[in-house]
Symmetry: C2
């Protein structure tokens, strides 16, 4: 099962919990959130212990189990590198904190930003990364720097022991095998829409 689908199910279960729903069948879950019902049935069968024969799954129990698998049962300390428009938008993005991702250090190599703090978080030069990574137990990083800086920034992160990196900079990045790099490509999201429009006008 892909991790993405686990995330999607977790969100659906959170919404159901908010609505006071206690149990749900895989078919209802699929219908309610327009998911592929065969896929949902297959995926959730794996979590049979949270199911009740003939009724479905316990919403809260299944949600908690998925959160545990996704590592969302704890708080992660996250480094943000790059505090331009995108970095600033990501810093203020509410969704991260809600899932337990806490941006507790911001790095930017523009000296005019160093004397500022955002919501109590200092903006630091990249050379402070090794020290801060250790002091703050930073394990995840979000990279929002220009394309030409991304490779060196990601190398510096890995050298500081931050081996799980979400990168918004375009271009090809090389990392060693022990670093987990995830590149976000926002145009993929638009392509799902252009696909739909292209089909509709064909």
């Amino acid at each position: 099962m892909t991790v993405r689908r686990l995330s999607v199910y977790t969100r659906c279960l959170l919404l159901l919990e908010e609505d006071g729903v206690k149990t749900i069948s895989s078919q209802e879950l699929a219908d309610r959130f327009s998911l592929n019902s065969a896929q949902v049935r297959k995926d959730l069968a794996y979590f049979g212990e949270f199911g009740v024969r003939g009724i479905g799954y316990y919403v809260s129990g299944l949600k908690a189990e998925l959160q545990r698998i996704l590592g969302l049962d704890r708080e992660w300390q996250v480094a943000l590198v790059g505090f331009g428009n995108l970095g600033s938008a990501l810093f203020h993005y509410k969704g991260f904190a809600r899932q337990g991702f806490r941006i507790s250090a911001v790095f930017d190599d523009d000296p005019t930003k160093w004397d500022k703090a955002v919501d109590g978080v200092a903006i630091l030069p990249l050379r402070d990364l090794p020290r801060e990574a250790k002091a703050r137990n930073l394990q995840l990083a979000i990279v929002a720097v220009p394309a030409e800086s991304a490779q060196s920034v990601i190398e510096a992160l890995a050298a500081s022991g931050i081996k799980a990196i979400l990168n918004f900079a375009p271009g090809r990045i090389k990392v060693s095998k022990d670093t987990r790099l995830k590149n976000v490509d926002l145009s993929i999201e638009l392509e799902a829409l252009s696909f739909y429009l292209a089909q509709a006008t064909r």
Copy 2:
């Protein structure tokens, strides 16, 4: 096949083309980009006409076909609503234009932004949306407004005939059946990393 996988294959084929690769087997494609080889084989079998027995697929031919299916064989005129930090970052995001998505109108209800233009694109009040949608043939929209404005903005877009919408605002949005809304949840991307870290430390 999910549209997302079509997008991923298209990106892989673009990179191969840049590297001068003419043909590739599904196994090589999977190995090179760390994809699930059974899945790639199954997905690409659908495009058998671009294959050569015993060799694989023609990179350029297959890429062009996938682009056509995804609607990337044309230029789309895109409206951007919300020109705060995130909107500004999205406006300057290089990835959109590369895939044929052209942000040709920006809307924001902050009057202090109305006299400005970004890279030759005017920033307009939302009340100009119906007129501009028609005049500029806007078919897609990107929404980067605060959560509390998202529902009304998305309704205004749909009313102006823009029925394919990429939404970055959090929260639940209701749309009519003929509107295609895609919500971007950036924390899903981080969860793939926390999943990996959680597995590694378990």
